[in-house]
């Protein structure tokens, strides 16, 4: 199968290059058969890469340990679903995964894009095929997943235990889907520039792609946080690691784009800015891949250092120079259709929201690269950790949270003072009430107070928006409140889906704030001994060590420590934490320990605070156990926030929702009143 895989990769490279060369050359102009050939090449590229992927999966499934990749990331006793996910566990497999998913997106884009964008599609095919060909080139010349070894080991080295988690089965693909799908909007942007069709048409064509890409990135990032939380055992979910930062960068610029694109659609403004954001997001996705795979910045997430970094650096520079040069040559064509009419308008709020999104992206990038810069300037190695990023980014994040509440309250074009008073009174009062309550309850942490008060303000804004819309609709159509609410959302999906995403962001911020109040302690306990810990909410938890048991499970020996937990003197159950010693079986009856023992955290989720129990180990090989107990306030709201975000994004993306005639006129609260009509 490796020969087939190799052959498929070489064929894919040729097909990809054909599509790229013909697509970019423009020779398809007036030659429909060439345009068709470019499109068909995109489908063929996908089909050939599917063959390559099947070849690798076959090698993984049949334990062909002569393939270096299979030997490095699997073993005979690895559970089936981890054999499946081993496809993207290593550098080489993940490059193939990237290439196949990109070719799939490219094929879907060619297939589903309406015919009115026909003139753009060969260019789109050329861009996607160029990027895919680049990944295939990297595989063929620097990281071949089908490379064979000179010998066949009896068993593979197995998968790192920390990757043997359901989070790692779905987190990397989600993140990759986000990174990869950015290529499609980028391809449309380049196609619009090349074809000089820079009106809002290409924006409409990519609307769903950008949302989907942003959604995948959001889910991928949150799943990564969840994996870190349940698997790494340090009690947190975000460490400002360079690779984490790299995933955040395109998310921030895409978020900025999702807001600014509305201004272009409605007012014909910010055309250059939107082009820059899409190009920048694509480059940042490649930059993230470069950081992860080059080893240029130390990170626990990085793949092994290899020469692929140079490929990515070269591609990054070439893509950046070519894209921005192209943008420069079309600069005059991207004149705005209208001007900002007032500084107190939704357009202005969006502009400042964009400034903050991009500013935070710059700040994260700056912090990530600052060690390199410092070493270059001073010759001294430094490290930039969470305290630095928190100090710089928390105030910016709070400003952004504030704008989340301000934006929807300001009218488009120009807001009057009376309008502002009417709109802001409720949300501001809510924010102040939350602040007063927190102060009265004794909270004195400035940033936590600001964060929660602003969250109150945003909650006030969202509630007001939903309530006013629902009430107006119920009044106008004599509908019951639930029906009016449902129809309001269903018929203004983009607007109210967006508000749900804002609600999700609010939940994320509340959860992040809770992290400032985590409490922890370590204890050595014999069976029957207890330790106590007081939480930020004032509860007293008592942990009673029950004992340690050992048993075999799948491909590991599990040492499980059990703790009986009481909250304010009342038992709430038993929490188990484990050490897992994985082993391989190179031959029947032969068992070898593989990797160091890994830790499985015991977590009891709660809306208020999570119990997070880590069994650190035993004293002198006995049941006397060392534990770390952590109480993490509000963490669960990160995961709930992600679910709300998914719902919001799906509502926004859901097809339809546009209605006509009288129903449209009745879209509550936004009817235009013209003098003399009484309407």
């Amino acid at each position: 199968m490796t020969i087939l895989g190799q052959l498929a990769l070489w064929t894919a490279l040729l097909v990809g290059l054909w599509a790229a060369v013909v697509g970019f050359s423009g020779r398809w102009h007036g030659r429909p058969e060439l345009a068709l050939s470019v499109t068909r090449s995109v489908y063929a590229l996908f089909a050939v890469l599917v063959v390559a992927a099947i070849s690798l999966w076959k090698g993984l499934i049949v334990h062909d340990f002569n393939i270096e990749y299979v030997s490095s990331y699997t073993s005979r006793n690895l559970p089936g679903y981890f054999i499946f996910s081993a496809f993207w566990a290593g550098q080489k497999g993940s490059l193939l995964f990237w290439a196949i998913v990109l070719s799939m997106f490219a094929a879907v884009a060619q297939w589903l894009t309406p015919a009115r964008y026909r003139a753009l599609m060969p260019y789109v095919a050329a861009v996607t095929s160029t990027v895919t060909s680049f990944f295939i080139t990297v595989m063929l010349f620097a990281a071949n997943p089908f490379a064979r070894m000179h010998f066949t080991p009896p068993d593979g080295q197995g998968l790192n235990p920390q990757l043997q988690n359901i989070g790692m089965v779905i987190h990397p693909p989600m993140l990759y889907l986000g990174y990869i799908s950015i290529t499609i909007p980028f391809a449309f942007a380049i196609a619009a520039l090349l074809s000089r069709r820079v009106d809002a048409g290409w924006l409409v064509a990519i609307r769903k792609w950008t949302l989907m890409s942003w959604l995948f990135l959001s889910i991928g990032i949150t799943l990564g946080m969840w994996w870190a939380y349940v698997e790494l055992g340090w009690g947190g979910y975000w460490a400002w690691d360079p690779v984490e930062n790299a995933s955040l960068l395109p998310w921030l610029t895409m978020s900025a784009f999702l807001h600014s694109v509305m201004i272009q659609e409605k007012r014909g403004m910010l055309k250059r800015w939107n082009m820059s954001l899409i190009i920048g997001s694509f480059l940042l996705s490649i930059f993230g891949t470069f950081i992860t795979r080059s080893g240029v910045i130390a990170s626990v997430h990085s793949f092994t250092q290899s020469s692929v970094g140079y490929f990515f650096l070269g591609f990054l520079i070439a893509a950046g120079v070519l894209s921005f040069t192209l943008l420069y040559t079309r600069w005059e064509r991207l004149e705005p259709d209208s001007q900002l009419e007032s500084m107190v308008s939704r357009e202005a709020a969006f502009l400042f929201n964009n400034l903050l999104f991009v500013g935070i992206a710059f700040s994260v990038l700056w912090g990530t690269l600052f060690p390199i810069l410092s070493e270059a300037v001073r010759g001294t190695k430094i490290a930039v950790g969470p305290p630095f990023f928190n100090k710089v980014n928390v105030p910016l994040g709070l400003l952004l949270l504030g704008l989340t509440g301000i934006g929807p309250l300001i009218a488009w074009r120009k807001a009057s003072t009376a309008n502002l008073k009417r709109q802001f009174a409720g949300p501001v009062a809510t924010g102040l009430a939350v602040l007063a309550l927190l102060l009265a309850s004794g909270m004195r942490n400035f940033y936590a107070l600001m964060s929660l008060a602003l969250a109150g303000f945003v909650a006030g804004t969202l509630t007001q928006e939903f309530a006013r819309g629902t009430r107006a609709r119920a009044r106008m159509y004599a509908e019951s409140i639930p029906i009016a609410f449902g129809r309001l959302v269903a018929r203004n999906r983009r607007r109210y889906g967006g508000y749900l995403v804002h609600l999700a962001m609010l939940l994320y911020f509340v959860a992040f704030t809770g992290y400032a109040f985590k409490t922890e302690t370590e204890a050595t306990l014999r069976p029957g001994d207890t330790a106590t810990l007081k939480s930020a909410f004032g509860h007293t938890y008592t942990f009673t060590h029950m004992g340690v048991s050992q048993f075999e499970q799948l491909n590991r020996v599990v040492t499980q420590a059990s703790v009986q937990v009481s909250k304010n003197g009342k038992s709430i159950g038993v929490v188990n934490s484990e050490k897992r010693q994985h082993f391989s079986e190179p031959a029947p009856g032969v068992r070898e320990k593989s990797f160091e023992p890994s830790t499985e955290v015991g977590i009891r989720y709660n809306l208020q605070e999570d119990l997070y129990i880590v069994y650190a180990g035993s004293v002198d090989g006995t049941e006397e156990a060392v534990y770390r107990f952590t109480l993490n306030p509000l963490v669960v709201w990160v995961w709930i926030g992600c679910l709300v975000l998914i719902v919001g994004a799906l509502v926004t993306m859901w097809p339809g929702g546009v209605v006509s005639g009288p129903v449209r006129r009745g879209q509550a609260g936004y009817e235009v009143q013209l003098a003399g009509t009484g309407q």
Partner: protein
């Protein structure tokens, strides 16, 4: 029969009691049982002392990176990565410096002298490092300021141009809507305007 039962009960009871005593009197274990496979439970762990958990010690350790390359601070690493051989040693160094009566800042300074500046979780805001802290904020302020100034000027110019625009002539016949200051529009145009304004805010 009764005597035999009594004997067996007594013998059994003695055996159980003996067994229990034997279990309780295990070598330095009291009631703590031994693990069947201690190697599978990770590296043998030392007992945690009050000092290990002391607020001062954990606070100092949270200011410095573990040198194993994990990116975590010393406290988090030593209580998380139980395979790390660096963080326990660093912890002992912190304890030793504390024993010498050093303050938190003195301990951090001693670590920087020994391991270099990269041991700090965040660089000290001195010299070139200040740029690390202030550049993002300054750039945002600068760009925001310039943006604000340009937009303010443009909106003022636009407002002035609109103010100088000629007053609308009387409504043409057939137009049923009047908007103050608006150019004349037909019924169809006004309906289209109404429709588009409704779409505008969706």
């Amino acid at each position: 029969m009764t005597r035999r039962r009594a004997f067996l009960a007594g013998f059994g009871g003695a055996l159980v009691a003996g067994g229990l005593r034997a279990q309780q009197a295990g070598p330095d274990q009291d009631q703590t049982g031994a693990l069947r496979d201690p190697g599978a439970a990770g590296r043998p762990h030392e007992r945690i002392s009050e000092r290990d958990n002391a607020e001062f010690i954990t606070a100092v350790e949270k200011r410095m990176h573990c040198t194993c390359g994990c990116g975590l601070d010393i406290y988090t690493c030593r209580t998380t990565d139980f395979t790390c051989s660096f963080s326990p040693v660093l912890h002992q160094e912190v304890l030793a410096l504390n024993d010498e009566g050093k303050s938190a800042d003195d301990i951090v300074t001693a670590f920087v002298a020994k391991y270099g500046e990269k041991v700090l979780m965040a660089p000290k805001p001195v010299g070139f490092n200040i740029a690390g802290y202030v550049v993002p904020g300054l750039v945002i302020l600068l760009v925001g300021g310039i943006m604000f100034a340009i937009l303010k000027r443009r909106t003022r110019v636009l407002a002035a141009a609109q103010a100088e625009a000629p007053v609308a002539p009387p409504m043409p016949a057939g137009a049923s809507h009047a908007v103050v200051g608006a150019p004349p529009a037909s019924q169809a145009e006004l309906e289209r305007l109404t429709r588009e304004m409704q779409e505008f805010d969706q």
